[in-house]
Symmetry: D2
Subunit: 141 residues, 4 copies
């Protein structure tokens, strides 16, 4: 990836979701790599034509959470975190309520982090699984 994020563009610890994550209503609950969590309150804008949460919402929630949690873990080392791949499987449709993602970093390498993410509905039923691969790169000025 030939991305060159500037320091102005980098999020600060404690900051709220911005950009697309904010747009779709992501809320951070916890960014600890041993059990990061975020959620979305489901509304009409998240649904696809059958009235269930669009798969892209699940994918985006998982990616927002793991990108942010990786970033906060590596930024002290002058590194940035950029999504490399997002593999999301849909198990159970969600029509309303909330979706909450819980992510565990399964691999924390010098160039790659791999996360397992579970997404559950308001009744704590497993609705989607995601494996996110995040590339960790030096911050280039």
């Amino acid at each position: 990836m030939n991305d060159e994020p500037g320091q102005q563009g980098a999020p600060d610890v404690g900051e709220q979701p911005r950009g697309f994550a904010e747009e779709i209503g992501v809320e951070w609950i916890d960014l600890d790599p041993d059990g990061a969590r975020a959620r979305i309150e489901v509304s009409a804008k998240h649904l696809q034509p059958y009235g269930i949460v669009h798969g892209g919402v699940h994918a985006a929630l998982a990616e927002s959470l793991t990108s942010a949690a990786t970033y906060f873990a590596v930024k002290e080392d002058g590194k940035v975190a950029i999504g490399q791949s997002n593999d999301t499987a849909f198990l159970r449709p969600v029509r309303e309520g909330t979706i909450e993602a819980t992510a565990v970093a399964r691999h924390r390498g010098s160039t790659t982090w791999i996360w397992d993410v579970e997404i559950r509905d308001a009744e704590d039923r497993l609705c989607a699984l995601c494996r996110m691969t995040i590339a960790v790169r030096e911050l280039r000025d």
Copy 2:
């Protein structure tokens, strides 16, 4: 998937994107399974904090396109199409302009369709690859 879409909820041929696809600005260009196409005009709401298009936008674009194209292909048989898995790899960051997805159905089984999707920027550079698996199920009344 135990989804039970009603007939009212099913999209019609020629219809525009609705729900989350509309929310993020997806525009259909072509829904032919041999080369379906859709695009998004990139704006600030699609970006993540580094100023590049959020991976969830790529994933959602690919899923909207392939779900719709599968649906239109199988609806005459009284079937519905529901996303089963979305595996998206990010190759090149996009900062502005458009992203356009082109999708080819590689497998058109009675219970599963598998699509390969390429996403390119306004300069026709490959930016993301997606493999979408779409479950095809009987419409239950």
Copy 3:
């Protein structure tokens, strides 16, 4: 999948690995869907040219285990289990000793089972992760 396994071809509970699984030295330890386990004793034939276990061995171990465990769980219902997709990520190279896979069925649907598989070396370090999707179909006579 248009496979039509005959009853003669179906494995029996308690049977040992056969065919390719036997060829590569898979040993069942446990086929319970809540924590199925299998292992391979690593020898020269499992390595790629750099002297590390070939990724295909990890993928085949995960697939053998989850296919068998799904099969044993659904065969009472007259169903068969066939691999649909195998997504394996390689975290740490293995040069010798054993690799042991532990698999948990995360989704047990009527048409699809989804498994998370961890593969660890003899020192219990995580070396590969696999998500297996297994199609469950009626046994056709």
Copy 4:
């Protein structure tokens, strides 16, 4: 990946498949990144209990081919190629004959190559699709 391949262990251009690739009967046809090809003559040892080619054989064929083709492309730069992830989808069972993989490098980055692989049977029917991600790293002495 903390692999440290020695120079003795590195394959030479023109060399035949070794180790696990040789074990399962992989034959190189072409290692050009624009259309690499390899095949396996199917025999009893490649089958799973239902008499169809084991998914691990497809996965291993795709990985052998793309690892070798990446390696030959980057070795002049003093780099090595190591599998990072292998996502294989199974479309059509194969019972006999040959399986032949054709691979195209879709991304050739400084740290990652991404390949799309198609596997076809002797009648040229598409039987499996694989996306391989290969990490490219400096050869450490």
